[in-house]
């Protein structure tokens, strides 16, 4: 499995197309650096929107194109399976690819924010720094949740575009719909999901309370999505 992950990361990083989304965000960042000033309060209030909608999109697109799309187009996945790697391990390898690549993206975004703070000489307090970190960490957990959920559709349809669309739709609407359902029914539709649990972990962390159990529930959601993927993929006929 480690070998597949290593091979995957190497070939993904060799693909010029993988860098399109980071380059777009970098261009926007450079534009921002020279076009306006920034202060912590306005930055922090915008951060939630960016983390909930813009960054997941910028992460999902290259991941679904490179981790799954190229693999399905080339048919190379059968190399690993034909060499004796179980399909469950292939799914796990793809998940770990996603974890590492999405982490790299999130760290890249965080680094850009740090440079912005330096550029405008914004000095953050320790509490503010921790709040930024927790916001990013929660966003990362949510992005991973979206990716893992959407991957089910890739294994189901053997088509990465379907997975990407499922991921983008869920990014765009799930929060809104679950919030609406929760408010209407007073049942924890949003809170029980990986989205709600990641948000709660962030809030509890910011308030200095226990937060790890919420992360544990997020991990349980990942395990559920991976199990569903494995059940589907293990029954899948792979065409030669």
């Amino acid at each position: 499995m480690r070998r597949l992950i290593r091979a995957d990361l190497r070939r993904i990083l060799a693909k010029p197309g993988f860098y399109i989304c980071p380059l777009i965000s970098f261009a926007l960042f450079i534009y921002g650096l020279f076009s306006s000033s920034i202060e912590y309060d306005s930055y922090y209030s915008n951060l939630d929107i960016q983390l909930a909608y813009i960054y997941p999109f910028l992460v999902l697109l290259p991941i679904f194109t490179c981790v799954y799309g190229d693999e399905l187009r080339s048919g190379t996945m059968i190399t690993a399976i034909g060499r004796g790697l179980s399909r469950t391990k292939v799914i796990l390898a793809k998940f770990i690819d996603t974890v590492l690549l999405s982490l790299a993206f999130v760290l890249f975004f965080l680094l850009m924010d740090q440079i912005t703070f330096d550029r405008f000489s914004v000095v953050l307090t320790k509490v503010q720094i921790l709040r930024v970190f927790s916001a990013y960490a929660a966003a990362w957990l949510q992005i991973l949740g979206f990716c893992t959920f959407a991957a089910i559709f890739v294994y189901l349809t053997w088509n990465s575009s379907v997975g990407l669309v499922a991921g983008l739709i869920s990014i765009a609407f799930s929060k809104m719909i679950l919030d609406w359902l929760q408010n209407r029914t007073h049942l924890p539709f949003y809170d029980v999901t990986f989205l709600g649990q990641a948000d709660m972990a962030r809030r509890q962390f910011d308030a200095g309370n226990m937060w790890m159990h919420h992360v544990f529930f997020v991990l349980l959601w990942y395990a559920l999505f991976l199990t569903v993927s494995a059940l589907i993929f293990n029954r899948k006929e792979l065409d030669l």
Binding site: G17, S74, G75, T76, L240
Partner: protein, 273 residues
């Protein structure tokens, strides 16, 4: 006694109500070049999928290199190299694609470059630097074979390796397959529609028809069982009579040995009008 390196016992495969394999029994021995013959849809590719674990077996057992359990079967699949079409990343070069394969196969990093050079030289692509998307069909096939022999596997499975190749390409593949056995001690399983070509390449044949291996035959058996002599004489009637007594001048003698194609069609029907 020959050592079985791949053994299929009563393999059945069903897609819904359609039974593709109806109890396939097959034994491939170490050192064989085994030709798998059958019409489109006869079940050749399904057999390869079963061996490689790409399709769930409805019933029966597959054994590779003496594997007795599922975990051993998974482990022993690492001894198999396979070509089932050119499966490469478009944006990578031949060398980069092989690096991907070599990493997945677990070839140590310090040996990787030498191993990639070796297989590229075998298939004649050592000087090709362009990305895979610009490859011709023949080049793609060659690279596919290079990927299959990376790491010098004990068993090599080639599914229609000559598909779409010109006569020179077909001859090259034939020489390569023979070299794989002679130089690298590989057992090769190869399928092809071109029976004449397969006859020149393989030394054992499995004939599959409607989901069953109807016959396994060696090249020697083929020659022995199906040979005939055609004699052209000046007087056929006389010849018939005199041949037993001797003394007829034989003008021309043509040895007509049944080809694999003749034998195949005789067994499964169809073919020549």
């Amino acid at each position: 006694m020959s050592e079985a390196i791949i053994e299929l016992k009563d393999i059945k495969k069903q897609y819904g109500k359609h039974e593709v394999l109806k109890g396939v029994n097959m034994q491939i021995n170490r050192g064989d070049i085994y030709g798998l013959i059958g019409r489109n849809g006869a079940g050749k590719t399904t057999i390869f999928k079963m061996i490689l674990g790409l399709s769930e077996i409805t019933d029966g057992t597959v054994s590779i290199a003496g594997s007795r359990s599922r975990s051993e079967l998974y482990k022993n699949r690492s001894k198999v190299g396979f070509f089932v079409g050119s499966r490469f990343f478009n944006y990578l070069s031949a060398r980069e694609n092989l690096k991907y394969y070599a990493t997945v196969k677990g070839i140590p990093h310090r040996q990787m470059k030498a191993e990639i050079d070796r297989v590229l030289e075998i298939v004649g692509l050592q000087n090709v630097k362009k990305p895979f998307k610009t490859f011709s069909l023949g080049m793609g096939q060659r690279l596919g074979i290079a990927g299959a022999i990376l790491g010098n596997p004990e068993i090599l499975i080639l599914d229609e390796p000559t598909n779409g190749l010109d006569p020179q390409g077909i001859a090259d593949v034939r020489h390569m397959v023979q070299r794989f056995r002679e130089e690298f001690n590989m057992t090769v399983v190869v399928s092809s529609h071109i029976l004449g070509e397969l006859e020149n390449t393989a030394d054992r044949f499995g004939i599959i028809n409607e989901g069953v291996v109807v016959k396994e035959i060696t090249k020697a058996d083929l020659a022995e069982k199906e040979s005939a002599i055609e004699i052209a004489v000046d007087d056929l009637e006389k010849a018939r009579k005199l041949l037993t007594e001797g003394g007829v001048k034989i003008m021309r003698e043509v040895e007509e040995r049944s080809t694999l194609e003749d034998y195949y069609f005789k067994l499964v029907g169809g073919g020549k009008e």
